[in-house]
Subunit: 275 residues, 4 copies
Amino acid sequence: MKPFKLVSREYKKENTIVEIKSPSGSVLLGHGNCTIIAGPCAVENREDYLEISQFLKAAGAHALRGGLFKPRTSPYSFKGLGHAGLEIMQEAREITGLPLVTEIMDIRDIDILYESVDVLQVGSRNMQNFSLLEELGKTKKPVLLKRGLSATIEEWLLAAEYMLKAGNQNVILCERGIRTFEPYMRNTVDIAAVALVKELSHLPVIVDPSHATGKWKMVTPVARAAIAAGADGLMVEVHQEPDRALSDGKQSLTPENFLRLYEQVMQISTLNRSQ
Amino acid sequence: MKPFKLVSREYKKENTIVEIKSPSGSVLLGHGNCTIIAGPCAVENREDYLEISQFLKAAGAHALRGGLFKPRTSPYSFKGLGHAGLEIMQEAREITGLPLVTEIMDIRDIDILYESVDVLQVGSRNMQNFSLLEELGKTKKPVLLKRGLSATIEEWLLAAEYMLKAGNQNVILCERGIRTFEPYMRNTVDIAAVALVKELSHLPVIVDPSHATGKWKMVTPVARAAIAAGADGLMVEVHQEPDRALSDGKQSLTPENFLRLYEQVMQISTLNRSQ
Amino acid sequence: MKPFKLVSREYKKENTIVEIKSPSGSVLLGHGNCTIIAGPCAVENREDYLEISQFLKAAGAHALRGGLFKPRTSPYSFKGLGHAGLEIMQEAREITGLPLVTEIMDIRDIDILYESVDVLQVGSRNMQNFSLLEELGKTKKPVLLKRGLSATIEEWLLAAEYMLKAGNQNVILCERGIRTFEPYMRNTVDIAAVALVKELSHLPVIVDPSHATGKWKMVTPVARAAIAAGADGLMVEVHQEPDRALSDGKQSLTPENFLRLYEQVMQISTLNRSQ
Amino acid sequence: MKPFKLVSREYKKENTIVEIKSPSGSVLLGHGNCTIIAGPCAVENREDYLEISQFLKAAGAHALRGGLFKPRTSPYSFKGLGHAGLEIMQEAREITGLPLVTEIMDIRDIDILYESVDVLQVGSRNMQNFSLLEELGKTKKPVLLKRGLSATIEEWLLAAEYMLKAGNQNVILCERGIRTFEPYMRNTVDIAAVALVKELSHLPVIVDPSHATGKWKMVTPVARAAIAAGADGLMVEVHQEPDRALSDGKQSLTPENFLRLYEQVMQISTLNRSQ
């Protein structure tokens, strides 16, 4: 017997489709299309965020990302605008009609974020923050669960199991690279994990090629690989001017490169459906 | 410049000694002696816990460990007695006079644990739970900070930096093995990290050979190595009958084996001081 | 300055195309098409090898693989037919017109293998067998250099550098998964490495999804991802009846599954060229 | 059943003692004492090597190391004096009476090295060079088998099994650190492996703290830990002036620091025997 139950394919044969609500209707993640969540690493200021959001809407993105509470290795790094950035994100949501995705780090933020964003992201460092998982499991809000830095696939699925067991089926898994000995890139994307998780579980899986590689030049090839391997979508960092980003500029795509990525992955996604 | 400041040797030359208060006086961890924290993985019931605590007191242990809130990979595993076990631990504290060490997993438990235990442990999975670190940093309670499963030494020291920056100097670092490809043992003890951290930082360092190896036969050799490498102490799991332990029996020492470990590491510690 | 010279893009801008000679003409690996090397893990007997070779020829494969000298972790495992299998491979070559790829483990086999096979493979365990690399560098024979189990990309390119420095430009790099903590699959395919190596070097890169995953169900998704990420080809294990294979049956495709893989990756390759 | 046979404790209960012959009598490695092999990373010139050898003899070392054929990641690095250095080592052997340890990289060097050195070392990169292992297994010469960079303990013991199966029982295992994600040190010493291998196998085990850490400041603490964990000896790099060493200067001890290491580990070794 597998150690996970509710998340397993044995328990539920058909794919879970997570409905992400938004002003302009619902996004159905896991429904056979390629869902693209895009935006800057962090919300930095109103003007930039509204501008990039409108660009992303026009470019075809399905949801907006933006970090408000940034988990930073050093206490001296920029940690995000916090609650102050929430208004900016909501304005972008109103203008574009796109749903919002942001990371939750603290159990005490559930209430406010529950009201104001559409997908709550649990970051790698919190994948086994079981108190947080259990609280999120009591809601019906879609949760994007990133794989831990050195989490096995079994541990990742068991973290999702915590939420399903508590009552929330709306879990999206996100592969974002694992830690290995290789120093060239930030992490090593475990591309086979995408296919394996689709086999073991009914939950949808997306890939974050930006954090996974830490180098913008690798983002498009990895995004292509992810969709070819069967991922249900992508989460990608985009910034008007990556060089002046307050965090993770090196891995952010320019708008122009995002357009190229978008076109290419959609062609692969179309090919997938015809095969 | 190093990315960490307050935890560094450059910032503070002399070793930090963490004072752990207890009914029978203070334990000074980092004062040149070998401090031994021992106990079962989890508090399972009153009778067993009181019995093993009295044995450990008689055997010379300096503090009692006992898990109340167990972070478990699977939501279906035994998670500890929770608040119900707190009374049992406090009874053991009264009887033995030894200070208590237990893991805190949820920021909402700080108040109650602050009052009732002497050292709050932050487990590997929460090493980068920055909200928790910041709250603990606002107290003066000694915190035992375990190294994350795949945390670099820099990340580990920066996690400690979060607490020192928030105002709490009473941080004890605990090496408990890192995740590698080697399947024979649960984790790979990074013995050189002990010496390296003593060089980079003024904070005391202990080693947990039980979680690090996952095999009781390896506990004593690794404990010996830890003290020979310069560790300030150990955290060791001991159980009357490891075979019936509800968690981690395979890595628990019997009382008899604990006595042997104790004698051997104390001899190495004595040798250290004479060298 | 990069530590590698002759293998770098700076040194040579245009892609290296490796010409693999065969009775029915040359295969140009790295020429923009997807080159597929296929065959059983080991040559087991004449009848089976000739049968699968003819199937693969008909299915469109570009070269035949077959292990004669198998590096085995245990001295008690099946080690291949050795020189006795060479005749069988050559018969397959005559019948199908396809070039042969086999692994060389011992420097003393260079002469005989040089005469009888078309690509010499250096396995993961020998990636830093520098004596072997230097001897192969003195020939003009195409060499397929697998990435070591825990080799960084820099070490891998430097191993290739040994051969280019000695005079052999005909080097094909092969990503075959690296060793990580993840136990579900044999290795972790480093898909971003494919794109990174194409950027850093002019040498062609292929992927071996069979050894990389160790599970036949993952072979096709990973093969798809590899081509989508920009790989120049694949090396795939195929066996008539994987269940009775003497080695690596679990990762071998059936002929039927190979046909499916072939069709799918060729469609992605066609899409690549149009993008 | 374990996958290894002849190397296992089940097969042979008592510890194997490897007799290393030398002009001044035999060194019995594994006989309960701490055997120390020391010397510079590479033999660089006659004057330096003879000087350091005489120092090491006087300091109590039991065998001399010195690299002649250096496996170097880059083909552009200093690769050792090769055969030219052999005479220098033999002169040191005559003067000091100490046995010689050097690495063999190429199967074609067996004959000449067999005649002129006392222990043949198989380096990490060649741990699974099975042709080399089998040839060494046909001799009776002591072989020092370093653990591969990412070899599991099982793979390491199976590599030794290759030699025992071929007829050579004189195998010394050497833990030299494994590759992990941690960047501060060159490798991560797997200290628990020392104790585990002593339990699983009858072969003697030593530790190389110099290559394992890559930092001379960590060499003594790790050496102490190794002996405390039960290792039968050490292999340590020593250089008159580490700053001008042609390779690995950063991890070499000065003569003064070697004296300190020697005294400390011998005290721990003495304590071991009394416990």
